[in-house]
């Protein structure tokens, strides 16, 4: 099957899918509401919006109690989560749980590893963004969380074929996108863009979804795309990978968008990459524990 034909098949299947992966209904209005200036936001309103989806609310509460989100005292209610963590963090948490909830559960693969990777990448992107004084760490989090949207599409639309690609990647220790290209004729970047368009994501997020493995093609949002590319690589070379080891050596400084990101973020100049890498270790255990706990809800 040639690439063009396969992409057309993918599009057809996505169009024809009865249950298109969609983020929980409450999240759209919530995220739009949270885009307002903080002084106009109301704690009660945010609490009520999340509270409409009981399962999402329970997951958010579990996540809000993780040290990954900076709280050390127990949070018992959504309201205290919003007060204690702030609107931005609660938005991040709600979106993270939303992404978990669109993972197909009976697809033949454990979707938890993909969510672990996405959540790990979101946290690493936020941490990295702060280190280099990237102006919008919140956006970095969201971009990290959503960068592999295409994997969700592949799991929904072509689960059998995707499993073949995944097994090839795992067996050979190669990047997943290479195996997807071989088996499916397209990658999760292509399928992710289809869903990002359907969801009408912001243009910078669309670029991240489509180009996080080829930031050299990026035109408008190269810094964000590169930030996610590097965070994704750091995760894949650590225990926040897709559940298998990629047998290769990575030189972050030679990644294509590196110069653009360095230009925009002066913090890149003297960044201690070794320390940044070691710091990721502290996310590993927490992410694994949190993901397992939330997945049970």
């Amino acid at each position: 099957m040639n690439t063009a034909a396969t992409k057309a098949t993918l599009l057809q299947r996505l169009e024809g899918l009865q249950h298109i992966p969609t983020i929980p209904a409450v999240l759209g209005p919530l995220l739009r509401y949270l885009q307002q200036p903080t002084e106009q936001l109301d704690v009660q309103k945010v609490t009520e919006m999340i509270g409409q989806d009981k399962s999402l609310a329970a997951q958010c509460l579990q996540m809000a109690n993780s040290p990954l989100f900076g709280r050390w005292q127990k949070i018992d209610t959504l309201r205290s989560a919003v007060i204690g963590l702030g609107f931005q963090r609660v938005g991040d948490i709600a979106m993270s749980c939303g992404v978990l909830n669109i993972m197909p559960r009976d697809c033949g693969l454990d979707p938890v590893v993909f969510w672990e990777h996405s959540l790990g990448c979101a946290l690493v992107a936020r941490h990295f963004a702060r280190k280099i004084s990237y102006p919008d760490p919140g956006k970095a989090y969201l971009a990290g969380l959503l960068h592999d949207l295409g994997i969700i599409v592949n799991l929904w639309v072509l689960p059998k074929e995707f499993i073949v690609a995944f097994e090839l990647a795992r067996k050979e220790g190669i990047p997943l996108r290479e195996a997807e290209q071989t088996v499916l004729g397209f990658t999760h970047c292509d399928s992710g863009l289809l869903l990002a368009n359907r969801w009408d994501l912001a243009p910078d997020l669309k670029e991240v979804v489509a180009l996080h493995h080829s930031p050299q093609v990026s035109k408008e949002h190269t810094a964000l795309v590169t930030l996610v590319e590097l965070s994704d690589l750091l995760c894949r070379m650590s225990g926040l990978n897709y559940g298998y080891v990629e047998n290769r050596q990575v030189n972050l400084l030679e990644q294509t968008g590196f110069a653009v990101l360095s230009q925009q973020c002066p913090g890149m100049k003297d960044l201690d990459w070794a320390r940044l890498t070691f710091e990721l270790d502290s996310y590993l255990d927490e992410v694994h524990a949190l993901v397992r706990a939330i997945y049970r809800i």
């Binding site: 070794a274 320390r275 070691f278």
Partner: protein
């Protein structure tokens, strides 16, 4: 002086104690070894042992011992000893060893494939009681029928401490050192000696043990044509100037494709701009590489 109660450092029990974080950052700055937040509990325990010895009541007071008191240099060494105690064992850092075998070895072989002499030279710098060079030797022997068929492998193992070297040459180890050995390696490369295990002579033949002070410039110059250097938890004891000198030697000792491996969570930040940091599955390494050469 008032003393603040010592707080626990585990993630589950609360945010990291700021004084413990200061100690962590000091150790990283001085020794280049980093404890991420999830390993602060470990650092806390090790500080605790030293604090008991010194009868200090709080981490703040202990931080002062490490910085402003006259004992600071000696105390830093004592703490570093606590940090690295029990680190030495066979197959200590599996991700690092897997990367050597699966990723680095093919690259080195490719770089040397057209040379008339098919020889691989690996140096365990600061080999302590020998577990590291023996591990490397066993791994390379496993490759002898595969990637390294018709290759000569030479392992140089050096340490400053003559007593450690004697232990290494005797090659007899207890439970603690052999705790990570799989049954395969245990049966193939060891023989029981009482309740201990001795490395079989066959796995020692390509190892050359010798005493070497890494600060001895004249001798360091003679360590030539190396493909890979392992120097784990050794440089942490050196001051910055000495570290820079040793690293410069390592750089010169390595062949253009050469790799330098440090201990887990050990970094060259602020020590050398010549080596390039690369990421491997579950760890990092430093590579000599073309870019660094061009910049020099």
């Amino acid at each position: 002086m008032t003393t603040a109660p010592v707080r626990s450092a585990t993630a589950l029990e609360g945010p990291p104690d700021p004084d413990l974080v200061r100690i962590r950052d000091l150790i990283y700055q001085v020794a280049g070894i980093f404890h991420p937040d999830n390993k602060l509990r470990l650092l806390f325990d090790r500080c605790g042992r030293r604090m008991k010895e010194l009868k200090t009541q709080s981490l703040r007071e202990y931080f002062e011992c490490l910085t402003i008191k006259p004992i600071r240099q000696a105390e830093l060494v004592a703490l570093l000893n606590e940090i690295t105690i029990g680190e030495t064992c066979f197959f200590r850092n599996m991700p690092q060893l897997d990367a050597l075998r699966q990723i680095i070895l093919p690259k080195v072989i490719e770089a040397k494939i057209n040379l008339p002499m098919r020889k691989l030279r690996v140096w365990s710098a600061g080999c302590s009681t020998g577990e590291e060079p023996y591990t490397l030797s066993m791994m390379m022997m496993e490759e002898a029928q595969g990637r390294l068929k018709n290759w000569t492998v030479e392992i140089l193992a050096t340490d400053l401490n003559e007593r450690s070297l004697t232990h290494a040459r005797n090659a007899i180890y207890g439970d603690y050192s052999t705790r990570h050995l799989t049954p395969f390696y245990r049966q193939k490369y060891f023989t029981p000696v009482g309740s201990q295990l001795q490395v079989l002579t066959a796995s020692c033949s390509n190892i050359n043990f010798s005493r070497l002070n890494l600060s001895d410039d004249s001798r360091m110059t003679f360590m030539k044509s190396l493909d890979v250097i392992f120097c784990c938890n050794v440089l942490i004891y050196f001051d910055l100037a000495s570290k820079r000198r040793v690293i410069q030697h390592f750089y010169n000792n390595l062949l253009p494709h050469g790799y330098l491996f440090l201990g887990h969570s050990e970094s060259l930040y602020g020590v050398s701009d010549d080596f390039r940091l690369v990421h491997l599955p579950g760890g990092t390494a430093y590579v000599k590489g073309e870019r660094a050469q061009a910049r020099k």
